[in-house]
Structure formats: C-alpha cells, structure tokens
C-alpha cells in the first residue's frame, strides 16, 4: 500500500471516529419539552383506554381530529408569533368575524367559494393591520393584536348578534363532510376524515416547511433569539414580522371556515378565549413564550393534549368547570419543565 492510498484511509478513520463521538440518536435539550408533550399525550390516551375503553378506538381518534382541526390550525397560527417572542391575541376574534360574515353572505345566496375567499381576505386584512401597527408604529404585539381583537369582535357584533345558521344546500358543508376510510360494522369504530382535517394537515406541513426549510422561517427563529442581532445580521426583520401576522390572521380565517362548516353555524361570540387555547397548545407543545425555541409539530401535540383534556375530565365525572383548572395546571407544569430544561442547558 502506498502512502497515497493510506492517507484517505486514515482520513476515513478520523471521520468515523468523529461520527462515533456523536451518539446515534442525540436528544436535543431544546426538544425535551416537546418530547414530554408527546409522552403526556400518549399517557393520557393509555389512561383513557384503560379506564374507559374508548380512547384508542378509531371513532374516538377520528372525532378528536375532526372536532379539533380548527384548534390545530390556530395552534400553528399562534406558533409563528410566539417563536419571535410575540403573540397574536386577535385570532379568536378573527374566527368570530369571519364566521359571522361568512354565514351572513351564505344566507344571502353568495357563492360559497366566493364566501371562502372573502373570509380569508378578512383574516389577511386583520393580519396586515396588526403587522403594520407592530412594525410601523412600533407597538408591542400584545397591544397591537389586542386592539385588532377588539376591533374584530366589535365589527362582528355590529353585523349580527344572532346565531346564524348556514342555509341548506349551500355547497359549503363539503369541508365538514366525513369520508369513511375504514368502515367498521360497529359505527363507533369507523375511521373517518373530512376536508377540515386534511386542511389542518396541510397547514401543519406548510408551517413545518416555512419554519425549517425557508429563510423566512429561520429569520423567525433568529428574531426570537435576539431581534437586535437579527437586524444587525442584515436579516429582513420587518418584512418577516409582517409575514408572521399576515399568516396568523389568514390561518385564523381558515380555522373559522373549518369550524363553521363543521357546526353549520356561527355567532359573534364564537371563539372567545380561543387565542388563549392556542397559546396553551403552543406552550404545552414546548415552544418557549419568550421566543427562539419550539416546533410546529409540538404545537399540534399541544392542541391534541388540550383537546383530550375535555373528554378525559368529563369521563372522570369531573365537572366541566374543572377543565380549565386542569389546563392551567398543565401549562404550569410545562413552564416549570421548560425552566428546568433551560437551566440545565445553561449549565452545560
């Protein structure tokens, strides 16, 4: 063997050495809260199954996704601002105004596709207002979206305070029409899906791609890490902030479409507190509210955990008032967990 061939060989050796130094499956400390959310979700399902016997049935899982597709979309919407250390408080109110406008237009016989487009544009407009307030007028996201929240709620109430029911044969309900994938003789065990769930899945995939495969997504993380650094690095911070709130507003409108199609009605009071449910999902999913760390998939898990708390508490016979307390406790536990994780991370 000549030295020329020996050289690459030793290099290869070095390479494998360097690779073996890294454990094959390295758990990033940043991922621990998200992993914990997955573990807790699985535990909840196992516990529910053991005690009540329905939680792993296909029917339960189908309805979990169908009934909460809107929350998954909202959780993705909330993930973006929270990753930058911001928040979008207006998403619940955007659901209300989009719902009320959409139902009103449908009842006047407007084409359902046009209605859908109008609803999305309303969400986009509120996102644009919030983005402008934040970037051009230097407002805190909390304050900016608080004001658009009141604005949206107010307009929704001006349009109607009645419960608006979607007309028959409106060509709008297709979003909610369930498609059976597995037709089980026991009706409760059908695995079914609807367009709303597919839309939610697309949103989740889109959120993942945005955050991890585009420069805009990386800028979102950079802003969350340190906004001034991001600016000094020459990243398009302002543009990215606008994109974030445009996206969260539009996704809120999408959530409104999925939700109203599902229940076939809307009222100006719908979606009260949903922005906080979305924040809860995001936090439970491991995103840190000061920004910089978190995953869109974590938020999905967070939304599922949040959604499973309701049937679980009711099956336990816990009065529904208690649900919120359980949610509160879970958030508390997750924040403590995050603190512990970041403390460990710092010491390393």
């Amino acid at each position: 063997m000549t030295s020329a061939t020996a050289n690459p060989a030793t290099r290869n050796n070095l390479k494998t050495k360097a690779q073996t130094k890294k454990p094959a499956f390295k758990i990033n400390t940043q991922m621990i809260p998200t992993i914990a959310a997955v573990v807790i979700f699985i535990c909840m399902i196992i516990m529910g199954q053991a005690l009540f016997g329905t939680y792993t049935s296909l029917g339960f899982i189908s309805s979990l996704f169908i009934d909460h597709a809107y929350l998954i979309i909202l959780a993705v919407a909330m993930t973006l601002p929270v990753l930058t250390g911001g928040i979008d408080l207006s998403i619940g109110a955007i659901v209300a105004i989009c719902g009320v406008v959409g139902m009103t237009l449908l009842n006047q016989g407007v084409n359902s596709w046009l209605v859908i487009v109008i609803m999305l544009l309303i969400g986009l407009a509120f996102g644009a207002i919030a983005g402008t307030l934040i970037e051009e007028f230097n407002m805190q996201p909390f304050i900016a979206t608080l004001s658009t929240m009141f604005l949206a709620r107010g307009i929704a109430a001006m349009i109607s305070t009645d419960s608006l029911i979607a007309p028959e044969n409106n060509n709008y309900g297709w979003i909610a029409t369930t498609i059976k994938i597995i037709d089980n003789p026991k009706i409760k065990n059908d695995l079914s899906i609807n367009a709303g769930v597919i839309i939610a899945a697309i949103v989740v995939a889109g959120g993942y791609i945005l955050l991890h495969k585009t420069r805009t997504g990386r800028t979102i993380y950079a802003i969350g890490g340190s906004r001034s650094s991001a600016e000094l690095m020459g990243l398009p911070v302002k543009r990215t902030q606008r994109i974030i709130y445009l996206t969260s507003g539009t996704l809120a409108a999408l959530a409104a479409i999925v939700y109203t199609a599902n229940i076939g009605s809307a009222k100006n009071t719908v979606g009260v507190g949903w922005e906080l449910d979305a924040v809860a999902s995001v936090v439970i999913g491991g995103t840190i509210v000061t920004g910089g760390f978190g995953y869109v998939l974590g938020s999905v898990i967070g939304a599922l955990v949040r959604s499973t708390i309701d049937p679980l508490t009711s099956d336990f016979g816990v009065p529904s008032e208690w649900t919120t307390i359980v949610v509160g406790l879970m958030i508390l536990i997750f924040v403590v967990l995050q603190r512990a994780v970041t403390a460990v991370g710092k010491k390393e």
Partner: protein, 512 residues
C-alpha cells in the same frame, strides 16, 4: 501597501445630534490588507464613526466612497451589501440557533425543496475551517461555546457575506490573553486575504501588536493618521488626550504601601465564606484605608467572591464579621445598610439604568437605603449630585442627561458616584476600568487611591494584572474558584509574581 487603491474613503464626515456635533469633518481611509485602528478617548467619536460606516447613523455632511463609488447608507443592510461587516463587542448572533446556522443565516444553501441543511452545514464548516475553527461542531448550539469562540464565529459569518471591510468594535474586552491571541491569528489570516480590518480597542499593547495604521480622533475631530510602527506610545496617548500622558499612566506607581498598624481591627473579616458551585470557602480581612486587589483569570472566582461580600449572591458557608460584629449579609439591601457597596462588572445590564438621568442614577442607591417614604430633600440631592459629578469629573457635566447617552467611562464614574453617595466603609469595584479609555481609566484609578487614603476599604477586581499590582496593598490571587494566595504587595511583587503563583498552584486536590 499604500500604492493600493483604498477600499473605503470617508471624507469630512460630520454627524450632528440635537445640540452636539458628535463628528466634525473626520477623515478615514482603509486600505485592503491592513489592520487599521480608530484611536481616541471615550466620547472622541469612535463609535459614531463606526456607526456612520455601518449605516446605523446617517451622516449630515461628508462623503463615503467604497471602492471608489459614493455610497449612501440607509441602514445596516446597505452597508453589508457594500461589503462592510461588523463584529460588535457584545456578540450579535443568535444563541438559540446552531453554530453553523449562525454563520449562514440569511445565506442558507437552498435547493428545490427549500433549505438544504446538509449543504448549508457543509458550507458553514468550510468557512469555520478557514478561520481555523474546524473543531467546532456546526450543529451544536451557539450557546455551548464561549463568548470568545462566538466572536470568531461572527468573523466567519462576515466572510460568508464576502466582506471587504471587517469592523471589530472592541472585540477583546471580554477575552483572556489566550483568546486574544486566537483572535489575532484569525485577524491576520483575514487581513492577508485582502480584507481591510478596522479595529477598536482600549488595550494599547494589542494596538501595537496587531495594527498597521492608526487614525486618531479627539472630541469628534480628526487629529492625525499615522503608521503604528512610527508612533511611540506616549506620543499616541498625547494625541488621544491632548496632553502629556506620562504622569497619568503612572498613577500609583510611587504609592506608598499602607503600613499595617498593630492591633488594628479590620472593617470586614470573613472566614470560610463560600458558595457551592461559585466559589470555595475563602478567608479575607479588609482594613480601613486598604486597597485589596482580586487577581485571577476570567472565571477564577474573583467576581463571585466580590458578589458574596456584598450579598448579591447568598453565601452558604462561612462567617462574616463587620467591625468585629457578626453579621449575615445575604442580600444587597442588608449590605448597603451595613455600608458595603458593590459596583458590578456588568455595567450595562446590572449597573446603569439607561433610561434614567445621570442625577437619578446617582441618587437611586442612597434613596433605596432611606426607604421609599423618606425622599431626599431636593437641595441635599442637588448638593450630592453636584459634589460627586465634580469630584469624579463626569462629562458632560449635565445631571439631567440620560445615562445611556454617556460614554462607558463616564457611566462608570456615575456608578461609582452612586455608591459613594451611600457613604460606604467598604467599596467593591468589579472591573471598574474595563472597556473605558485611558484618560477615564487613569481618573478612576486615582479615585480608588483617594478613597483609600480617606479611610475607605476598597476591593479592586480587575482582569488587568498591571493595574491590580499598581493599586493594591494586598492582592488576593484566585484560581479555579479558590483563593490560592494572599500576597503582601511590596516592591518585590510584579505581574510576573502573580502569573507564577497562578501557574504553580494546583487546586485540583482541594476541589470540593
């Protein structure tokens, strides 16, 4: 080198802020392949000049030519696009992201499916390797490496944007000697690749080691451009402060060592004071009129011991005697009540309150010791503010200016004024001269000596051994979170003594 075409020519740069001319017709020329230092005291206009070149400030008059083309910068992005990259003193990277991602942020390699992470990290490793940083794992979070390393990563990032001019704004102020050498190695590499480096540092040794050419500013005015090797130090200092510096830099050189009186009781006497994980138990006596220096490398525990003495951190072992009386100092309020004051090394985050005025910053600690319901009468407050601003020569002499608009040296003086206003018996100064210019440094060193002469006990913590040796009566040498020696500072003691003590003492056996 001079026959090269300059990369950057700044001519007649003038920047005005309401009421002040921060820069008045300043020139600066940068050539490829040189290290150029911007020299001047704090407030001379160095930072303003840098901000003009990086697009943070708009210039009121003057021209900026980059490679012969006139440029108007409306933001940092414009300057970056023109090939001007900056590494700031406080590293401006994102600690939540990986090393490789920080290098490539905004320049990730993209494929048809979005960012190609494998290629992006490969690219990052390539740039890191250029800097001799091939040992770094580009996937590791940035927070896992030291500030010094982060600074080098920031330079690697500058190479990604293909910078022609690299501005290093006080990159060395938080680095230890070895880290500085690493930085210089990389600076030379970058320089040799034809980049012009604009370097700002308060350490004259470093200026003489690394730079080729100097531009000297004073009070916002251009003084002179000189070659480093043709300019003796005293001449340089003279140009910077506008007067002979010889006596300034010799403060304390002939200081008479304080003679210990027999039977004298220390103000503060601690035995076995320690905190697990921060600092191992240490004994210490501080007498009235004594300057006690804490010497040691970064992370040796010198700051931690200072913080324990003040109660900024709660000790978990040891006894604390104050004028012979046992006390428990577990928080700053108790310390202040007991006439112990501590000025932090972290001036920006733990020291000044940027949005308050100089006057408010001076009075805040005194007010805290009096309690909320006993405001300081206006006349008394005016007198206090006036007195200390004069004594410490705070500039500008306007107590109603926001402290964040003062230079580092003057902020430091205000902080010392704040603690002096509480009339401490023991004043702990943690890195009071870090990152400030030579004139202010000399003034602060003089203040330390004056305070001790008036009978105050002063703890002087500094990473610059030279000033510790020059000012202290007693030197506590720290290493790896242990106090390893107490040196009576007499004529036989030099920086070398301390370096040898640190090098020759092994603390591993004692590790708790």
């Amino acid at each position: 080198m001079t026959d090269n075409q300059p990369i950057v020519v700044m001519k007649g740069i003038t920047i005005e802020f309401p009421g002040v001319k921060a820069l008045d017709g300043v020139d600066l020329t940068l050539y490829p392949g040189e290290v150029h230092a911007l020299m001047g005291e704090n407030g001379a206009g160095k930072s303003t000049m840098i901000k003009a070149l990086t697009g943070v400030y708009k210039i009121n008059a003057g021209t900026i030519l980059v490679e012969g083309r006139p440029q108007t910068f409306n933001g940092t992005l414009d300057a970056q696009n023109a090939g001007i990259a900056t590494v700031y003193q406080e590293v401006n990277l994102c600690t939540n992201l990986s090393i490789g991602e920080n290098v490539m942020l905004g320049h990730e390699v993209r494929g048809p499916l979005g960012i190609n992470w494998k290629k992006t990290h490969e690219e990052a490793r390539k740039y890191l390797a250029q800097m001799g940083l091939d040992h770094l794992d580009s996937h590791a979070p940035l927070s896992s490496i030291s500030i010094a390393m982060q600074q080098l990563v920031a330079i690697a990032r500058a190479m990604v944007i293909d910078a022609k001019v690299l501005i290093l704004d006080e990159p060395t102020s938080s680095l230890d000697a070895n880290e500085v050498q690493d930085l210089f190695k990389i600076m030379r590499k970058v320089r040799d690749s034809g980049v012009a480096i604009l370097f700002v540092s308060h350490f004259l040794d470093q200026i003489y080691e690394i730079t080729d050419r100097l531009t000297i500013l004073r009070n916002g005015k251009f003084i002179k451009e000189v070659m480093t090797r043709d300019t003796p130090r005293d001449e340089l200092i003279g140009m910077m402060i506008g007067k002979s510096a010889a006596e300034l830099s010799q403060i304390g050189a002939k200081k008479e060592r304080r003679a210990a009186k027999t039977g004298e009781k220390p103000i503060v006497s601690v035995k076995g004071l320690g905190k697990k994980g921060d600092i191992n138990p240490a004994d210490l006596d501080i007498y009235s009129g004594e300057v006690v220096g804490f010497a040691g490398l970064l992370g040796s525990g010198r700051t931690e011991l200072g913080r324990l003495l003040y109660g900024a951190d709660k000790p978990d072992s040891g006894t604390y005697e104050l004028n012979g009386k046992q006390v428990a100092i577990g928080d700053p309020y108790t310390a202040l009540k007991n006439k112990i004051a501590y000025s932090t090394e972290n001036r920006r985050d733990e020291g000044i309150i940027g949005d308050l005025t100089v006057r408010e910053n001076i009075l805040i600690a005194l007010q805290a010791t009096r309690g909320m319901f006993k405001p300081i009468p206006k006349k008394e407050a005016d007198e206090i503010v006036d007195k200390y601003m004069k004594e410490l020569n705070v500039r500008p002499a306007d107590p109603n200016k926001l402290i964040k608009n003062l230079s580092g040296g003057n902020q430091q003086k205000v902080l010392i004024a704040r603690w002096l206003a509480t009339h401490p018996e023991l004043l702990i100064l943690d890195e009071p001269t870090r990152g400030i210019d030579i004139g202010a440094k000399a003034e602060i060193q003089q203040v330390v000596l004056d305070l001790a002469a008036e009978g105050m006990g002063v703890v002087f913590i500094s990473s610059e051994l030279e000033e510790v040796v020059r000012l202290s009566d007693d030197i506590e040498v720290m290493k790896d979170r242990h106090k390893i020696a107490e040196i009576d500072n007499d004529d036989t003691v030099s920086q070398q003594t301390i370096v040898e003590t640190i090098a020759n003492t092994n603390v591993n056996g004692k590790e708790a």
